[in-house]
Symmetry: C2
Subunit: 278 residues, 2 copies
């Protein structure tokens, strides 16, 4: 008998991964959490039936959402991660020696606890003395944090359900206020192929708030279409080039990848420039 | 009732696309050909149950397999496409004004005929006076073509079944001989995530024949893992930078994308350098 876990990526598109064990299953106060073991991609975390992270490809997402903004800043010290309850982003942030505090504002305590148990290589940073876990809604949390952070990373689920408020003009305005004078915000912004409208809209929203707004891409095999986007709002630094050198151990990120990830396919460049999806 | 077409990308991984119509189905002398219509990606061509091309993402594959080698050459005149029976690669090659002949050596006449009927936007170049279609095995065909081509593009199916011979040392040696003095060969070489061993092996094989061997990447949503690789063997020109400017209409390719597509993730750089997959 074969068991497959399925993400209906759109009503007309599904990705199936064969599973050998169901390790964890819980309906938390916020979402359905499922962790399965798979021969193809190792352990896989799903939230509300969407693939969030897998042992195989987690390094790409976590390195790219963390190192691009952190290397764009000459000396990031205080970092806020919103969402990211699996811990992978915190782990990457902590590789930067200039960081003396990374706060994780995660709404769902059960995700944090499940990751500690089933993804120890992701949640390894939780025990670092520079890491502070806050179980809270990121939207509410940042309201009292004016001028606090060098970097804010929105490592959220899709812009529906629990995470919908993390993609609004109100949220981005509050995030701008909670950044220091030279701060940088980054947010995961879905697939360039399947969610072009959303990317264009987010770009427009952020451009009304931040002086510098840029988009970059990375391949994530288990996300819909296999290609993912990240949108950066920056107060001062150009996020498309590293501000400093480093010797951090990575599997995906390099300074050359940093620059190359901002080079957009023509259809996406056109969509952003004309404010219209293809 | 819902009908889905499935590619078992590996024994443990499947991609499903919902279909609304079966347009063509034939067991040819070489393979099973299936063309379906889908709400997500438009018309979709499958050969032996593998997604080959779709209306939605065909532009990426065809632009990248054609324009990268052609723009690396200062004046490509004679081009051979092996495989590529749908015509998308020929269509892109013909956009270069310096090209006065593109030969298509396709083993399966039924693919060519089906594409003429169901993918007219792909097969549009077949009626161009500069295009010559040869129904033949590419491996045999090039044996009598010493010193004939500026560019050879191996636009084949996976390195199993009908296409297996297109990835051997014997074939690459014959391809080298059939190129002109400054010629360039490019071959699709599978997924960096799922077929790293194969990419490393191909790199090694080509490096024993060509003085310059480079790898580049492009996202293809309907191919396994969503990221695809292309390996170039070049006699003289550096394939990672365009040799000339152009004003060709594209949806994916730009001169900046050309350069960025050669920037490899660290794990892949390491695999190539050390001759070992991750």
């Amino acid at each position: 008998m074969k068991l497959w876990v399925t993400e209906k990526q759109t009503p007309d598109l599904s990705l199936l991964i064969r599973t050998t064990a169901t390790l964890f299953r819980k309906s938390s106060n916020h979402q359905n959490i499922l962790i399965v073991d798979t021969p193809q991609y190792g352990k896989v975390l799903l939230l509300d039936n969407k693939f969030q992270t897998t042992d195989m490809d987690e390094f790409i997402y976590h390195e790219m959402i963390a190192h691009v903004p952190l290397y764009s800043h000459p000396a990031p010290s205080k970092v806020l991660v919103i969402g990211g309850g699996d811990g992978g982003t915190v782990r990457e942030v902590l590789k930067h020696q200039s960081v003396d505090l990374v706060e994780l504002a995660e709404i769902d305590r059960d995700v944090v606890e499940a990751s500690k148990k089933y993804f120890p290589h992701l949640s390894s940073g939780f025990s670092d003395h520079r890491c502070k876990i806050i179980i809270a809604d990121g939207v509410t949390y940042i309201k009292n944090m004016a001028g606090s952070y060098d970097i804010i990373i929105v490592d959220s689920t899709d812009p529906i359900g629990p995470a919908a408020n993390l993609f609004t003009e109100d949220f981005y305005t509050a995030a701008y206020a909670s950044l220091r004078a030279n701060g940088i915000l980054v947010s995961q912004t879905e697939s360039p192929f399947l969610h072009t409208d959303f990317i264009v809209k987010t770009n427009r929203t952020l451009s009304a708030i931040f002086p510098i707004v840029r988009l970059y891409l990375a391949p994530i095999p288990t996300y819909p279409s296999g290609l993912w986007s990240f949108t950066v709002g920056s107060k001062k630094y150009d996020p498309s080039v590293p501000s400093r050198k480093g010797a951090i151990a990575t599997k995906y990120y390099t300074p050359e990848i940093h620059k190359a990830s901002f080079v957009l396919p023509r259809f996406l460049e056109d969509a952003i420039r004309t404010n219209k999806a293809i």
